[in-house]
Symmetry: C2
C-alpha cells in the first residue's frame, strides 16, 4: 500500500508509452519488498531541465532516462560517474539533496546479461552491427571483457567513421576496425560472436536482417539487443543453423537492476528462477 | 499494475509524513478503477516553485497542497477558480499543458461531509471556534448553507480581528460576530451548532477543549474538524450530554474526492457503505 514513506522513481522519455521500465521496476519493488513506486513521465525535450530540477524538488530519488534525452542530459547534471564520462550518455539519475548525479548502466547491463557466457568473450573476435548509442555501451563492455578484436559494420559510413573516432579517442579502444558491406558476411562467418545493436528486425520491420541467412553455424553466439519480436530474423536464422542466441530482454532487466542498486545502495541479486519470471512477464507485455 | 499510461498524482507538504492523502487517494484509484497512483512529495518551501514547475514538466496531472504551502502558492499559479480568490488559499492544483490552475476543495468537502445534516444549518446560529485557514473555508461554506449568524471565538484576539476583516471584506459575509472568553460558554449553550476548527484536543494534546463540559445538550450538533483522536475531548463531552457529533474524517475524504473529480472530470460518487469503508481504513491508520 502506498503511504507517505513510499519512494518515487520513474523513467523520462518522449514518447514514453512503449517503455517496459514501469512494469520491470514495479516488479523489482515487489520482489525486493521495497516501499516504492516507479512511474513513466512523458517529458518534451523543451521541458527536460524543468523536469529534472522539479523531480529533485519533489523528492523523487531516482530517474531513468531514455530516448531522446540520453545525450541532451549531459549538460544538465552536477556529477557524472566515470562510465558516463567515457560512454558520453546517461540512463540513470540519482537525485540527492538537490544534487543530480548521472550514471549509465547499459554497459553493466550488457555484461551481466551474459551470465556465464561472458567467459566466451576473452580473446574472441566480435562482429558488432551498428554505431549508435547502444553500440557505445557495448564496445565499452567488450573492452572490459578482453576481446581480441571488434569488427564494426554500419549502414551509414559517415556515422561509422565518427563512431570509430569515438572508440579511439574517448574510449581509447584501439582494437576496433570498420568493415564495409562487401566484407560483412565473410567476417560474420569467421567471428565467433555477433552482436546486433541496430533496429534492423525490430517490430514492425520483422523481415529485416543485416546478415545473409547462410553465414551462421553452430559455433556462433549471436546476441541481438532487440527484444521485440522475441526472436528477430537474425536470431531465427542463427538458431536454424544451430547457433546459440540471445535477445535484448536480459540487458533491459540488468540495466534496470543496476539503476535500482545505485538508488537503494543495496546489493540486489536476481537468481535464475526470478530472472525467468520477470523475463516472461516482460515478453508477455510486447 | 502500473504501466506507462498510469497517471501520477500527489500531495506536497513539509513535513508530509503524517498525511493520509496517499492512503485515501490510492483507495479512490482502486475503488474507481482509475489507472493512477498518488504519492507524497516532501517539498521544502524554498523548493516549492521548482516542484510545481517540475511536476508540470513531468506530466503530473494533479497535486494536493498542504501545510505550509497553502497560501504561499497563491503567487505561483496561472489561474485561480472563484473559490480560491474568495478564500485566499489553495489545496488542489490542476497541471494542464504547462498551465497551473488552482482550486480549493475544503469548503466543498465541509459541506458534502454534512450529508443530510446540511439542512440543519438553514437559519441556524453557529458557534465557530478558531480563526485560521480552516475557519475561512468553513465560514465560506456556512454562508452558502444560509446560516443566520456565526459567532466566532479565537484565543488570539488580534488574529480574530484580522479574520473578521477577512470575512467582511473578502468573503463579504456580514453575519459574523466576534465573542470573547467571557461570552463563550453561554453562546455555546444557545447555539444549535458548534464547529471547532482549532487544533485544541488534537493528538497529543487530547485533554484540551475550548468549552466547558457542561454546556452541551441533546439539541446540539458538534462538529470537530480534528480526526485524531477519533473523538476529541470536545466530542466526548458533547456525546456524553446526548449531542450529535461528527469528526473531521469525512471532510478529509470529501475534499479529496472533490480534487479527484476536478482532475478526472468524472462525477465520482461515494455511497454510504463505501464511505464507511474508507473512513474505517483512514481511522485505522491514525
Amino acid at each position: 500500500m502506498i503511504n507517505t514513506s513510499t519512494c518515487v522513481y520513474g523513467v523520462i522519455g518522449y514518447p514514453i508509452e512503449h517503455s517496459l521500465s514501469p512494469v520491470l521496476h514495479n516488479w523489482f519493488m515487489s520482489n525486493y519488498k521495497l516501499n516504492a513506486v516507479y512511474v513513466a513521465f512523458n517529458v518534451h525535450p523543451s521541458e527536460l531541465k524543468n523536469a529534472i530540477k522539479g523531480g529533485s524538488a519533489l523528492g523523487v530519488i531516482g530517474l531513468n532516462v531514455t530516448i531522446p534525452h540520453k545525450e541532451a542530459l549531459l549538460g544538465l547534471v552536477d556529477e557524472k560517474d566515470r562510465d558516463v564520462k567515457l560512454v558520453g550518455a546517461i540512463n540513470t539519475l540519482e537525485l540527492n539533496a538537490g544534487k543530480i548525479q548521472a550514471h549509465v548502466t547499459d554497459p553493466y547491463g550488457f555484461t551481466e546479461s551474459l551470465g556465464q557466457r561472458k567467459y566466451w568473450f576473452k580473446n574472441a573476435e566480435v562482429l558488432l552491427l551498428g554505431a549508435g548509442g547502444a553500440a557505445k555501451s557495448v564496445v565499452y563492455a567488450l573492452e572490459k571483457l578482453d576481446v581480441k578484436k571488434i569488427w564494426i559494420y554500419n549502414r551509414s559510413a559517415q556515422r561509422l567513421r565518427a563512431f570509430l573516432d569515438f572508440c579511439h579517442n574517448a574510449l581509447t579502444v584501439s582494437k576496433v576496425q570498420a568493415i564495409d558491406r562487401k566484407q560483412l558476411n565473410d567476417i560474420a562467418f569467421d567471428c565467433k560472436i555477433i552482436i546486433n545493436t541496430t533496429s534492423a528486425g525490430m517490430y514492425p520491420h520483422t523481415g529485416e536482417s543485416l546478415l545473409r541467412s547462410d553465414v551462421f553455424h553452430d559455433a556462433h553466439f549471436v546476441y541481438d539487443l532487440v527484444y521485440n519480436p522475441e526472436k528477430t530474423k537474425l536470431l531465427l536464422d542463427a538458431e536454424h543453423k544451430g547457433a546459440t542466441i540471445q535477445n535484448g530482454i536480459d540487458m533491459l532487466i540488468f540495466q534496470g537492476l543496476e539503476s535500482l542498486r545505485i538508488w537503494t545502495k543495496q546489493p540486489l541479486r536476481l537468481e535464475a528462477p526470478k530472472l525467468k519470471k520477470i523475463r516472461h512477464i516482460l515478453q508477455s507485455r510486447l
